[in-house]
Every structure is written in structure tokens, then in C-alpha cells.
Amino acid sequence: MQVFIAQVINGLSTGSIYVLLVTGFNLLLLVAMIIHFSYPQVVVFSMYIAWLVMKYTGNSVVLGILAALGSSILLSLISAPLFQKVMKKRGEVDINTSMVLSMGIGMIITDVLSHAFNNGLPIAFPASLVGSAPVLRVGLISVTTGQVWSMGIGIVVVSLFFLLLYRTRAGRAFRAIAEDPSGARLVGIPLLRTGLYSYTLSGLLGGTIAVMFAMLLGYASPGLGEQVAHKVLAVSIIAGLGNLVGGLFVGLGLGILEALVQGYVSGSWSNAIAFVIMLIIILVKPKGLFGSKL
């Protein structure tokens, strides 16, 4: 029982990172109408920037966090005109082209990280940011500050996100575009400009995830983005592409599933087993557990 509880806590904290990643991915899918396959690479890149800034500022946590947020937003906004240009060239929105562009961005980021930073070796975040100290320990169950932060930030950010989506003018426009882009255009909602808001927001989200990731893992490596990207894509497809609420449940679900496999079977098999289970789900429900919104 203690193993179970411990692993559920572990799972919830990684799960909240998956949830935010899927949310950012889905936001771009629904509003900017791109498949940003490499969104997690952008997040990992921001982790590296945060690490770099902390290294040269005497491990300043505040500056590190600001660097993560800033670089993620900037990277997201820089990529926006590229995506919009590619999509416009084809006459109308073409989601498939965006996927190729996103893959390219991901590969470039991975290569830059493995050549330009720390000789390609994994980076370790300073203790001032990483929350590996336990705040609670009962038998086998131990909760670290990183886990508490990760779950706490996850809950706050997701709540704020849904508040924005359902209570603001921009959120209303997001939902309208998500449901029917050409209908939204007829009402006079500017697709490109509203799309830019979604790039900014997903950038902000990405920066937050970078900080959470650094606190929880304590390290980052050039391949981390790619590894996570597969999971994010899988989660969003299994939940139903573009299904934000579905992403919440499946993101947390995957986190818990992985942790349980790690706890009861084997750590090295957790990816494979989690993916086999997801494969079965997708065979039974091809449109995702919660239904695709595309």
C-alpha cells in the first residue's frame, strides 16, 4: 500500500507536467492550427537557458525563472511567423506542413543543445532551484518540495488557463476558432492575431513547465525534449486530439501509470509498458478516450 501511495504521488507530479505540455500542444493545435510536435523541445531549450542564466548570475532563482519564461515566449513567437507563412503559402490552413516545420525546429534545438551547451552532457540545476529535499516522510512515502511545487503550480496554472478560456474575450475567441475557424472569421475574429495570442500563451505555459521540470528532475539532457515529445503526442491522441479536458485526465493517468509500472515491475520497462497500454486504448477507441475536437 505504501508503495502504491508513493508511486501515485510520484505519478501525479510528473503527470502535472504532461498535463501542461498537452495543454500547450492542444492550444496551438486548436487556435494556431498547427501540430507543434516539438513543443517539448522548446520547453527543454528554455531549461537550458535558465541553467545558463543561473550559472552566470550566481544561481539566482528569480533570474533563472524569468529566463525560462522569457526564452520560451520568445522562441514561441519567433516560430509563429514561420508557421503562419508556411500555412498561408498553401492557400489555406495545412496542418500537415506545420508538422514538418515543427519537427525541423525540434531537431535543430536538439542539435544545438548537444553541441553548444556543456559539451552535450546533461546539465544539473543548482540546489537553490531543485526541490529534492523531502517535506514529508512516512515509511516508504516521501514527498519532495519539487513534487509539491510541480503539483501546486500544475493545479494553479491549469485553473488559470481554464478561467482565461471561459471567462475572457481572448478565451472566447480561442474557443470559437477551435470550433469553427471559418465561422470565426465571418464573425470578424482575426485568425492570425488571435493565433499570435495562443503562441504567446503556449510560450508562457512552456516556460512554466521548464521551471517545474527543473525543480522536479534536477537535470536536463539534449534528448529529454524528444523523449517527452513522444509521450505528449501520444497523450493528446489518446485523450482525443484537441480535447483539453481529456488531456487533463490522460496526462495525469500516464504519469501515474508510468510510476506504478516503475514501482511494481521495473523502471526500465515503464515506457514500453505504458505505451503498450496506450496502444490497446487507441485500438479500442481510435478517436481517443474523450473524443477528438478537430
Binding site: 474575450r169 472566447r172 475567441a173 474557443r175 470559437a176 470550433e179 469553427d180 465561422g183 470565426a184 472569421r185 465571418l186 464573425v187 470578424g188 475574429i189 482575426p190 492575431r193
Partner: protein, 254 residues
């Protein structure tokens, strides 16, 4: 519209020599989709306070015309002047801010969103006085107030049309373009919708309508244009069109 300086001193209200300038005037409008020419030089005018109807079969170019005026289509030549200003090629959101709006064919309401959200979307480009506009719309359509928290998917066809019209009113428009309001509605509901359009017009709204239901539309409108394959083939007052033998044969089933 306290808009900034333009050359003409009577911009918007008076044309040359004190004759009221039309609210919307379209000259030689051509629109193509790739190699297909959907409009081949259409000219028409809508004066303030009028209901003008475009009559034509499917594919005549009515929807293309309305969407081009709104600023949706890219490949447009000719001139579109709204309220004394050329608006050809201007983006739809700016046109909506300037007082143009479109009630799309098939209503185009957002089915998964609440009635209230749908209405607020209409005010997206004009959030000033949004409460006042909302209350006006609820006065026009009390049923929408009753159903404001329901998702639009649960509305009947007629209620959806009311919602689409209400949403258009939320943008504080000066020209309401309505694309095929009667399509897919029961005859009794069609009567209601046309009655609403007439009432809106009596309140001062200028309306440009497209319709296949020529008889009902002409009864409601002041003037009409008959469109065929991207061209205006006939224009005139509603009585004239109603009595025109060609129109009778082609559109009134007489």
C-alpha cells in the same frame, strides 16, 4: 463614427450636390477562386435605411458577394465603398469594427458554446457598451435571455437564426448582411424571421439580404438584384421584380 479627417466634407451622409450617398456601393466587383471566376463584374448599391435583396440560384455568387464585402476573399478587383470609404481588401475584423456584419448562411452559430458566449463573440471587435447591446438584443429576442446559459446546439433552427441575428446586432452594425436566412427553416419560422428583419429595418438598420426564396424576400425588401452566374442580370424595385415575367418564371414559380 467620429472618424478622423477625410477629403470629402460630407463623408458618409451626403454625396456630390447634397444627394445622399449610398451606404454601400459596389462597382465592377470581380472575385476568383483560383481559376474559377465567381463574380464577373457586379455593381450594386445599398442606401441608408433600405432592405435590398439579392436573388439568385445556388452558385449565382450571392454568398461570395457578401463575404467579399465583409473582407473574407483575397482575390478581389473592382471597388467596394462603405460609408464613403474604400474597403476593398480590408480585413474582416476592421470592417466589423467599422459597422459591417454578416449573418452567415446556415446561421454559423458556435454549437458548443453558450448563447451568451455566442452573443459576446459578436461584440468581439466592439466591446464598448456591451451590456447595453446585450440588453437590446434580449429585448428583441426574449427567448435568448431565457436560454443564455444553454449551449447553442440545443436551440431550434429558428432560435439559432435569432441568435445569429442577435450576434450581428452585438457588433453595433450599420449594415447587416444576411445570407439565406430562410434556408432549412419551416415556413412559419421563415415568416417570423422576415418579420424580424422588417422590424429591424423600421428601427433604422440597413439590410442586405441574399435569398433563394424570392417571393418572401421581395415582399420584405425595397429593392432587389437578380444574380446569375456571377453577374447582375436585373435590378429594380421589389414591385417591378415581383411583376417581371422573367423573374416570375425563374424564381416565383409562376
Amino acid at each position: 463614427m467620429a472618424s478622423s479627417s477625410t477629403a470629402a466634407p460630407f463623408r458618409g451622409n451626403r454625396g456630390v450636390g447634397g444627394i445622399p450617398a449610398p451606404l454601400l456601393s459596389i462597382t465592377s466587383l470581380c472575385v476568383s477562386y483560383g481559376h474559377i471566376r465567381a463574380l464577373k463584374g457586379v455593381s450594386l448599391e445599398v442606401n441608408r435605411g433600405e432592405i435590398v435583396v439579392l436573388i439568385g440560384a445556388n452558385g449565382a455568387g450571392k454568398t461570395t458577394l457578401l463575404e467579399s464585402v465583409l473582407g473574407i476573399n483575397a482575390q478581389v478587383t473592382g471597388s467596394v465603398v462603405f460609408d464613403g470609404k474604400s474597403i476593398r481588401g480590408r480585413a474582416a475584423d476592421r470592417n466589423v469594427r467599422a459597422g459591417l456584419c454578416l449573418v452567415p448562411e446556415g446561421r454559423g452559430v458556435f454549437a458548443s458554446m453558450s448563447v451568451l458566449d455566442n452573443l459576446l463573440l459578436g461584440a468581439h471587435n466592439n466591446m464598448r457598451n456591451v451590456t447595453a447591446h446585450l440588453n437590446r438584443v434580449y429585448e428583441w429576442f426574449p427567448i435568448l435571455r431565457k436560454r443564455r446559459d444553454q449551449v447553442a446546439r440545443t436551440l431550434s433552427g429558428g432560435e439559432r437564426q435569432m441568435l445569429a441575428i442577435g450576434r450581428a446586432l452585438m457588433s453595433a452594425p450599420r449594415l447587416i448582411m444576411v445570407d439565406e436566412p430562410s434556408i432549412g427553416l419551416a415556413p412559419i419560422v421563415v415568416n417570423d424571421i422576415f418579420a424580424i428583419l422588417k422590424k429591424l429595418n423600421a428601427e433604422g438598420y440597413t439590410i442586405l439580404l441574399s435569398e433563394q426564396n424570392a417571393y418572401k424576400a421581395l415582399q420584405c425588401a425595397h429593392r432587389g438584384y437578380v444574380m446569375e452566374t456571377g453577374l447582375v442580370t436585373l435590378a429594380g424595385s421589389s414591385e417591378r421584380l415581383l411583376n417581371d415575367p422573367g423573374v416570375k418564371a425563374a424564381y416565383l414559380g409562376a
